[in-house]
């Protein structure tokens, strides 16, 4: 019996570990809005932070979902192009922004994302989003960009005490984490990555001047994604 005792202990621990993992998994609340059990696509399993940051009408025939990093230079370059098409297409275009701070590569991307999300908790996400991109070159090489982000929050008239508290809050952590989970689920590894009506658009096609217009026009004609 003693010969088998260690094997019995190991088997019991394995059983307890599996049971504990299963019980822990069942005790977790759903990551987002209720999901039908029949819907198993990665995008549905990992819907990202809810509610997402959206500009445009829900009824718009074209939706662009961007995974962005406020410190990534190509994201900064695509930003004015996106603003331009938002203006041009008006109610026909809806834009969703998802956080994907590439922290190992971009030292300030994490705090930039936190700043945008903290501003979002006060209903000013897009204003902070625009400020971060429009001034990207001013803060990207600083040793510490946090004071700059704080100054943007001040200029937006945010409640600064709340902003400082929200920067490291669970709500902000959770939003960035859930957007990151969605990125992983969709296989997004770089920024900017755009999905047009749910289909990933190669960077080469939208980095060119007018590239976004062509894609949106094709989608409106029903010949695109």
């Amino acid at each position: 019996m003693k010969r088998f005792l260690p094997l019995i202990i190991i088997a019991v621990v394995l059983l307890v570990a599996i049971t504990a993992g299963w019980a822990l998994m069942r005790s977790q609340p759903p990551a987002s809005s209720p999901i039908s059990s029949t819907e198993t696509s990665p995008a549905v399993i990992a819907p990202g932070a809810e509610p997402p940051h959206v500009r445009g009408e829900a009824s718009a025939p074209v939706t662009i979902e961007e995974f962005g990093d406020f410190q990534c230079p190509p994201c900064g370059a695509v930003y004015p192009e996106l603003k331009k098409v938002e203006h041009e297409y008006g109610s026909r275009l809806r834009v969703i922004f998802r956080e994907l701070p590439l922290v190992p590569m971009h030292a300030h991307a994490g705090w930039a994302a936190r700043s945008a999300e903290a501003a979002g908790l006060q209903g000013r996400f897009w204003e902070m989003h625009d400020k971060l991109y429009e001034n990207q070159k001013a803060w990207t090489d600083l040793p510490d960009a946090r004071p700059v982000f704080t100054s943007y929050a001040k200029s937006l008239g945010l409640d600064m005490e709340r902003f400082a508290r929200d920067l490291e809050s669970e709500a902000v952590d959770r939003r960035i984490f859930l957007d990151g989970k969605r990125a992983h689920a969709l296989g997004v590894v770089s920024t900017p990555t755009l999905f047009l009506n749910g289909r990933e658009v190669p960077f080469e096609t939208f980095k060119l001047p007018g590239g976004l217009n062509e894609l949106i026009d094709a989608a409106l004609r029903g010949t695109g994604p």
């Binding site: 202990i9 993992g21 977790q28 959770r174 984490f177 859930l178 990151g180």
Partner: protein, 150 residues
């Protein structure tokens, strides 16, 4: 007469190693479940869990690193348990296993400190567990080599 207490102490060291490995296993199970279910792991002592656990370093070839941690800690627990019951091969394998875990831990600490520049408390707990396991394995090896000299 002297060999028996020494042997018993060796068994206790392995027993402690098995118990310590269980702490690492619990930590790794928690992180794996949070990863799989898409929950946000909240750092209660320090900030940085989101940065670390949503970074590209948290996944290896599509597998959550925490999942690999579960396998590693369960293996360490099993080997330590077998070694505590006198299975010699298990003690040797445990030394190799803990050595590999130590190398991985040092790499991950470097990544957190110098690449991501954020720390995750659950990853630090895992690192502490590996350091303790390393200390126990070294103590056991020293005790073993001293015993074989006498």
């Amino acid at each position: 007469m002297m060999a028996e207490p020494s042997k018993a102490r060796g068994a206790w060291l392995y027993g402690i190693a098995a118990a310590v490995a269980l702490i690492g296993l619990g930590d790794a199970i928690y992180l794996t479940v949070e990863h799989v279910t898409g929950q946000s792991v909240r750092c209660t002592l320090i900030s940085g869990c989101s940065e670390v656990l949503s970074s590209s370093y948290a996944v290896v070839a599509g597998v959550p690193l925490a999942g690999l941690g579960c396998v590693a800690y369960f293996t360490a627990f099993s080997l330590a348990t077998l070694a505590a019951f006198g299975y010699r091969f298990a003690g040797k394998l445990l030394t190799v296993m803990v050595g590999l875990m130590l190398l991985e831990t040092l790499w991950l600490l470097y990544v957190q400190a110098f690449v991501i520049r954020h720390f995750c408390q659950f990853c630090l707990l895992s690192a502490l567990v590996t350091f303790v396991l390393t200390g126990l394995v070294i103590a056991q090896r020293r005790r073993h080599s001293l015993a074989s000299k006498t």
